[in-house]
């Protein structure tokens, strides 16, 4: 009897969160039926006429749907990897700093950009990456010809990944730093007595200690494989880089909001969610197998 009552406590504590989830996440999902309708605002979601699979069919007829999907997956995968590796490295390095106030200062400064919106940042980035901007001036010192970063299909995806990582790595490192504090200091002391170098300590204590967190974050980020960062792309792209930078979200935005084709926009969005769902189930299985990580 006893264990069950304790569990009930936990479930009750979960309840508010579940309600929020239901209201703001599950309920709006019903709106996905728009993908199978011709949405007329006055008739509402339920009153609008059904059109069957027309919207989905049309989505696959779009000549550059392939390009848009590929762009999205490429940019998003690069971001997932970069967002995993860079903050991890940063957290490990920061963890090695022994002077506390330096550590605090660095940490505070690097996570500031997280709080800036892309609308603001894009102006800064456009200026920095312009032909006469600071980046090209610096490259010029090494005799490199100016590069039109925002107009080149080679460079544009890297600009997206680079700037996004720059904006977020400080913030994402917080989770790793928290995980690092959870490692029992006795392990380090024991290793020191055994004569382990700092590199060996990192290799054999720190990394295994936070492996679960890494796998967890990777798993959770896999459903982002179709999220290439709408706000960022919208503020930085232009027709020159449609070929490498037009992603599902910007496409949905142009079709849905600018052209008012809500049905098609929802169909694309729904497709995105379905793929995301499949991926998260898959990655959960992988995490369970390789990192022995289980939620259920």
């Amino acid at each position: 009897m006893e264990p069950k009552r304790i569990q009930l406590h936990y479930h009750l504590m979960l309840l508010p969160g579940m309600i929020v989830l239901a209201v703001f996440h599950f309920y709006p999902m019903l709106g996905a039926v728009i993908a199978f309708k011709k949405f007329l605002p006055a008739k509402g979601i339920w009153g609008s006429p059904w059109v069957g699979l027309d919207n989905i069919k049309f989505m696959f007829q779009i000549s550059d749907s392939r390009e848009i999907f590929l762009n999205t997956i490429t940019i998003a995968s690069m971001k997932i990897v970069a967002h995993l590796v860079v903050p991890l490295l940063f957290a490990l390095l920061l963890n090695e700093i022994r002077i506390r106030y330096v550590k605090r200062w660095v940490q505070t400064i690097v996570y500031l950009p997280h709080f800036m919106s892309w609308v603001v940042l894009s102006v800064i980035i456009v200026n920095m990456l312009s032909l006469r901007g600071i980046v090209n001036q610096a490259l010029g010192l090494f005799g490199i010809e100016p590069i039109l970063f925002l107009g080149s299909n080679t460079w544009f995806p890297f600009v997206l990944v680079g700037t996004d990582v720059w904006k977020e790595f400080g913030f994402k490192a917080i989770v790793y730093l928290a995980a690092l504090t959870a490692i029992n200091p006795a392990l380090y002391e024991a290793a020191a007595i055994d004569g382990a170098s700092r590199w060996q300590m990192m290799r054999h204590i720190t990394l295994p200690g936070i492996a679960t967190t890494v796998v967890l974050l990777l798993t959770l980020s896999l459903d982002n494989v179709l999220n290439a960062g709408f706000e960022q792309v919208l503020n930085l792209y232009n027709p020159l880089v449609y070929a490498s930078g037009d992603v599902i979200d910007t496409y949905v935005y142009r079709v849905g909001l600018v052209q008012s084709q809500y049905g098609i926009a929802s169909a694309v969005g729904l497709m995105k969610s379905v793929v995301g769902f499949v991926l998260i189930v898959l990655s959960y299985q992988l995490a369970a197998r390789f990192a022995n990580y289980r939620i259920f």
């Binding site: 007329l40 605002p41 000549s63 107009g151 232009n238 935005y253 600018v258 084709q261």
Partner: protein, 573 residues
């Protein structure tokens, strides 16, 4: 993105054949007849007629200028015009200014802004509100939005209200654009919107060039220039240090990522296209008289080839493709660029800052013509945004009264309330659309030319224009201390000369609406088009890629849409 929005707002409704002047009364009659039949056929619907009938009892409320006994508050969608200059020392705001005070006094109407967004976000905000079925009582919408609202039965029937409350002047202005204008806002036999109007030549293109720089590099240009002249000036501006600061830090031709539009944009390359008689983004007629899409014609290829040469040789700003349209003026303001292709009124936005920063800056207006000496000026859609009333909103006639008032101001029947402060943007008024006759803009340019030449007395100008003439007579150099006043004179008296030229040929799109297939495929085709053009210019793709673009465009729905447009244009004729 901007491009599409522009495309969209430019393809909003409207018509293009205007048979004006000779018989306005006849046009009026036919419009009235149209409405009458509309009202009869709509009677089956019922509700419209009844609601109008019950209110018609109160004649003061329904009359064009009657005052309400009780204060009436109306909620209206509003865009913030950005940096607004109010007259010296006034405490006016967007919700409490001379207009709102006069409206309150005259009609007992109070105005509330249901929302306020930046001008560039207005269309999106409206689309959002429509999709959530949450529009304010009174709202300006574009034709795409209008269509959705009308189809969804979200709009109040204004047929009777318009008949009883619209002033003769307003009816006259709207009828002056031909019967098609009312046809466009009539749905199922009911009039469900009041179209604002865009006079012809409001957006004609002018090449603005720094005259002081031309002098420095020793080039003299006639008021009418060719593409070669422009090329010569641009080359000299890059290579011959026109600002005499000893550094090679000046640029040639500027543009932005929305370099091609259906009329003209700030620092766009639109004038280069028309100089090759290419008419991108509008529906035009080919040699055989068939309607075709201007962007797909061979003239376009020639123009692109020229621009490609310019880009390769550095005459055209290397970065133009990545510059957002709202940053168009940065090099001009900074005194780094001396050529700006844009509107007659571009000085107001693009050039005023350059004078603020450099008193030596002198800008001249030049007309860039095609090889045959003509300026083919693509005209905007004569129909602007449409005022609509939410179904069930109280006092639909109130908005008509306000429109009556502003129609009088727009047509100089009464002076504008900020006539003493030319720098105060007209969009501060609560009704952010104009109801001007087709010739309003040209007439005003002409009056200024006549006044400057002494053919027209100062007193014969409308009150608001007398101050501008006074400014002009002070001399441009003196005016530079007040850049906004300087810019206004430059716009009206110098830029305004160009549309008056007999060599201007009006080009209207053969069709401004949105067809069924366009709804689905236009976003895609626009992307294909914008991408193809910019990549040809920057050299990513060969010039012959244009032919690939055309065949792709046709294959991906262009042909289908062209057929629909031909049919629709035929129907509206």
């Amino acid at each position: 993105m901007k491009e599409e929005r522009r495309k969209r707002s430019n393809s909003d409704g409207g018509m293009h054949h205007m048979k004006l002047g000779t018989n306005k009364a006849c046009a009026m009659l036919s419009a009235a007849a149209l409405l009458l039949t509309a009202a009869c056929s709509g009677a089956g619907g019922g509700s419209g007629g009844e609601s109008g009938g019950s209110k018609a009892a109160d004649t003061a409320e329904m009359s064009p200028d009657g005052k309400y006994a009780e204060p009436v508050t109306i909620r209206i969608g509003y865009y913030n015009p950005g940096d607004v200059k109010w007259p010296e020392g006034s405490n006016d705001t967007l919700t409490d200014n001379r207009y709102t005070r006069q409206i309150e006094e005259k009609f007992n109407i109070k105005i509330e802004h249901a929302f306020e967004v930046p001008q560039s976000g207005y269309d999106e905000k409206v689309s959002l509100l429509i999709s959530s079925n949450d529009i304010p009582d009174f709202l300006f919408v574009n034709e795409g939005q209008f269509k959705i609202l009308a189809e969804s039965d979200m709009l109040e029937d204004l047929t009777d209200v318009y008949q009883s409350t619209a002033s003769p002047l307003l009816k006259d202005v709207i009828a002056g654009f031909g019967p098609e204008f009312l046809k466009k806002v009539t749905y199922d036999g009911k009039m469900v919107g009041i179209p604002s109007t865009v006079p012809a030549h409001d957006n004609d293109g002018v090449v603005w060039i720094r005259n002081d720089w031309l002098k420095n590099v020793g080039i003299e240009l006639a008021p009418t220039i060719t593409v070669d002249d422009l090329e010569k000036a641009a080359r000299a501006f890059i290579t011959q240090d026109p600002d005499r600061n000893g550094k090679a830090d000046t640029y040639g031709i500027q543009s932005t990522s929305s370099f091609v539009t259906s009329t003209i944009g700030y620092n766009s390359l639109d004038l280069i296209f028309t100089a090759y008689k290419a008419f991108p983004k509008i529906w035009t007629k080919d040699a055989s008289g068939q309607i075709v899409y201007g962007s797909t014609l061979p003239e376009m290829k020639q123009a692109l080839a020229k621009l490609r040469d310019w880009y390769a040789s550095g005459l055209l700003d290397k970065e133009f493709g990545t510059i957002k349209p709202d940053q168009f003026a940065k090099d001009i303001s900074a005194g780094k660029a001396g050529i700006s292709m844009g509107y007659t009124w571009a000085p107001m936005k693009a050039l005023a800052d350059s004078v603020k920063n450099d008193k030596n800056a002198e800008w001249g207006a030049y007309m860039l013509t095609a090889a045959d000496g003509k300026l083919y000026a693509r005209q905007p859609n004569p129909m602007g945004r449409i005022m609509v009333v939410r179904k069930g909103a109280k006092h639909p006639e109130a908005i008509v009264k306000l429109i009556n008032l502003f129609t009088e101001i727009d047509n100089n029947k009464v002076p504008g309330l900020y006539a003493d402060s030319p720098g105060t943007n007209w969009t501060v008024r609560p009704i952010q659309g104009t109801f001007r006759t087709k010739n309003t803009v040209l007439d005003r340019f002409q009056r200024f030319q006549d006044a400057a030449a002494g053919k027209l007395k100062r007193e014969e100008l409308p009150l608001s224009d007398q101050g501008i003439l006074d400014n002009y007579l002070k001399g441009m150099d003196v005016l530079k201390d007040s850049p906004q006043d300087w810019a206004y004179v430059l716009y009206q008296l110098f830029g305004g000369k160009i549309p008056l030229s007999p060599n201007v040929v009006e080009i209207y799109s053969e069709y401004y609406g949105i067809t069924k297939t366009m709804e689905l495929k236009w976003a895609n085709l626009t992307k294909l088009e914008n991408e193809a053009f910019v990549r040809i210019i920057v050299g990513d793709k060969p010039v012959d890629y244009f032919d690939t673009f055309v065949s792709e465009w046709k294959k991906q729905g262009g042909d289908e849409i062209t057929q629909e447009v031909r049919k629709e244009a035929e129907r509206l004729r």
